[in-house]
């Protein structure tokens, strides 16, 4: 694949009216453009080895003093590094796994959840990072880490953070924001901690965080400060809640929050369907988001050819490699919500018989994605790679662990199309063992009635099957720079490899889902 042509590169129009924003934009365009490989360079190679070595240095030698700012994010450093290895296709030796498990366990809080460092308070964000790192390095049994996670205490920790408007604090006395909610939902899903009481009000809260631009802000304000149509101000927090009062989003639409809110929304689909059925007179109206506006916002964040098609995190801000995942990776989630992500044929599946003739064509047809997958790869390869190893925001910034992971994961999202497969879901459901799933639950929750219990069991089953249904759509991979640039696919919701997500889910639900790659009956 040839590098992008400079002739296509028209500068962002400034309409003869420069401002601080447009000047910064122009400077950035010049810098990015200068990092294009000289014309005639036929291939842009992913320097896997030097990125791998960059990450390995962090693990082996430790992190320099400037990483003190990440002292309260230690599990993140571990997750970014280890999952980075997985995306780049590198395995881990047993000794490294053992050390990692011991380190992670030192971060478990005595009252449940995980902390940013030993002796620190439990917090939803490091809890997500720790559990995802466990998914990479852990296993069942003695010394494997998984069974040393105190899920019961973790559930109680989660419930202790729950707020009346459906949101969660990130820690005791901490703030509310959708990152925390995403982290909580992922962990609760992976560890079989989902209950209706945990999820109550969460979709409504998320929906209120969507802004007029279509993306999501970081939180919303509970409506009880306002009368709905009444301009008389009521005393904050003392008046009874008016369900029609506005619950305004705080903060503008932003890539990180948009990913977190959208992934949460996708995870919550079974809950919304089972617990908010849209029937007349239902006291719980179905919470809704504007999915069309969300799609528009996501694709609008992709930069112009002169920005090499990298993604921005907000309107009129600069492209940054990390949004390759937060926004680029979000597009397939939105496609799923719009019903556009029905796969032709997912990996390991037989084409349906009645479509045998069409299927050949379907396999050829490469790309249904609604963002520019090739351009995003070009951005990551040309602008995202630091010459000394590791990936970055943009030139001339240094590489760091965070950007290395989110650029690599963004590259994965641009190379592979991973979508929910109905066939896979069906196969998973066929082997569903409700008794095991119930017995393995880590949550202390008792259904108030038999009817409710049935709905709850259905919820657990559906969330499990949905999580496992995400499969790579065959025939849709696109490797800019050639197949040597291939990285492993990431689960679009969890940001784990499919194998790691499958493994930890199967364990904590006590299930034995069928293999993804059954032997082919005919060839």
């Amino acid at each position: 694949m040839a590098a992008p042509r400079a002739s296509e590169m028209v500068a962002t129009p400034t309409d003869g009216y420069p401002t601080a924003t447009s000047s910064l934009q122009s400077d950035t365009e010049i810098t990015i453009k200068s990092h294009l490989p000289s014309s005639g360079t036929p291939q842009i190679a992913l320097q896997k080895k030097s990125h791998f070595e960059f990450l390995l240095r962090n693990l082996r030698q430790g992190l320099p003093e400037r990483y003190t700012s990440q002292d309260a994010s230690q599990p993140w450093l571990i997750y970014w590094t280890l999952h980075g290895f997985s995306i780049l296709g590198a395995g881990l030796d047993d000794q490294t796994k053992k050390r990692t498990i011991e380190t992670l366990l030192a971060l478990q809080h005595p009252d449940g959840g995980f902390a940013g460092g030993p002796g620190q308070a439990a917090h939803l964000l490091p809890t997500y990072a720790a559990i995802c790192a466990f998914a990479v390095v852990g296993r069942p049994g003695e010394g494997g880490g998984w069974d040393a996670i105190d899920r019961n205490k973790m559930y109680n920790f989660f419930m202790s953070l729950k707020q009346a408007d459906g949101s969660f604090l990130v820690s005791h006395h901490g703030e509310v924001d959708v990152r925390g909610i995403y982290c909580l939902l992922v962990v609760a899903t992976l560890l079989n901690l989902i209950t209706p009481e945990l999820l109550a009000g969460v979709p409504d809260f998320l929906a209120t965080c969507q802004t007029y631009e279509g993306g999501f802000g970081n939180a919303s304000f509970p409506g009880w400060a306002f009368g709905s149509d009444d301009t008389e101000a009521t005393t904050p927090l003392s008046s009874p809640r008016d369900p029609t009062a506005p619950r305004p989003p705080l903060g503008e639409a932003h890539g990180g929050y948009t990913f977190c809110a959208t992934a949460s929304w996708v995870l919550l689909q079974p809950f919304i369907k089972l617990y908010h059925p849209p029937v007349p007179g239902n006291p719980l109206p179905e919470p809704k988001i504007n999915t069309r506006a969300l799609l528009r916002w996501c694709v609008q964040m992709q930069g112009l050819p002169i920005e090499l098609g990298g993604f921005k995190g907000r309107t009129n801000k600069l492209v940054d490699g990390c949004y390759s995942w937060w926004v680029g990776g979000c597009v397939v989630l939105v496609e799923t919500l719009l019903g556009l992500a029905a796969p032709h044929i997912a990996a390991g599946e037989e084409p349906a018989d009645e479509h045998d003739e069409d299927s050949a064509k379907a396999w050829d047809d490469a790309d249904d994605s609604l963002f520019n997958r090739r351009a995003l790869q070009e951005y990551i390869l040309c602008a995202g790679q630091h010459p000394a190893g590791g990936l970055r925001d943009k030139p001339p910034k240094p590489a760091d662990a965070y950007h290395t992971l989110y650029c690599a994961a963004g590259l994965a999202a641009a190379q592979h199309r991973v979508v929910p497969s109905k066939a896979r879901e069906k196969a998973v459901l066929l082997t569903w063992d409700p008794v095991q799933a119930h017995a393995k639950s880590g949550a202390t929750y008792v259904s108030p009635s038999d009817v409710e219990r049935e709905t709850f069991e259905e919820l657990r089953k559906q969330m499990f099957a949905h999580a496992l249904s995400w499969s790579e759509e065959e025939g849709t991979t696109t490797y800019v720079g050639g197949a040597a640039n291939r990285v492993n696919a990431a689960h679009p919701i969890f940001n784990l490899t499919i194998t790691h997500a499958d493994g930890i889910l199967a364990h904590f639900y006590g299930q034995m889902p069928p293999s993804r790659y059954p032997p082919r009956g005919k060839k």
């Binding site: 009216y17 601080a20 430790g62 992190l63 301009t231 050819p305 009129n316 609604l370």
Partner: protein, 329 residues
Amino acid sequence: MSDLLADDSEWADVVPIRQYENVNPIAPIFYSEEYKDATDYFRGVVKTGEMSPRVLKLTERVIRMNPAHYTAWQHRYKTVMALQVSLEDELELMDEIATMFLKTYQVWHHRRLILTALNSVDAAARELVFLKTVLENDSKNYHTWSYRQWILVHFNDEERLWAGERPYVEELLEEDVRNNSAWHHRFFVVFSSGVRAGDEDREQTLRRELSFAKEKIALAPNNLSAWNYLRGALEHTHTPFTTVTAFVEPYTASEPPATDVVDLDNPLPSAGAQLPCVAALEFLADIYEEEGGEKTAKAVEIWKLLANEKDTMRKKYWEHRIRDALQKA
């Protein structure tokens, strides 16, 4: 320099706790001696639950070295409340720390906790002034904006808090019409957070906002922030996009129209405008799609132009819009 707590007799009674005992951690950070010392003692006081004046000093010390240490903030907050120290003093110290560490979540959240405890509109009004100085240096700081919005809704005082916000936004957009944070703030003030005093006539308010957005679009037409605002105002009020057809059309042409007629409702692109404007083409296609029927074909035509020529980065998206519209038609 040796001002380590380990050498300080004031701290002799506290047992410092090392971070990792019996674990050889993966990816260790090489802390400075001072940081290691302070956090060892911090873990010591967290363990005993000590809340005292010296703990305030200690948490400040940790925070100055690492403002993202949320546990230090948490313990500091508990100590401030337990000792009933002056919240005003705490806020004053926070002014300095916030200015140093603008991009840290915890800095802003701590202020919010202190403001909640203070429970005073006077303090909230002072906060708005302080935040203005912060935004002067970093006009798109996410946390600062989010916090400002929280102040407004939490204390919800029309006269003392809300009243200055729209003029403030106008000031900021005067300076940089592409500042999306300021646009979002305007939407927050005018549309998302209930009805402002003086804005009770919603039709009149919408007219004012449409004029405002149009005028800003005319100034620099390729500014997605302003188009998004126009779009948002119409959608929020369930006003058809066709309301602004006459305004949008001149921005979709290659040249500004040759006319001397000044239509105040529909300001024309500025002399320097680079036309046609992609955001206007998109808008016009949305207008046609909304009208439906025969107009759908005109929308399709624009989407094709965008896909193949004017906005090729989003080719797949524009093609999706064509499929979607034809399916519904």
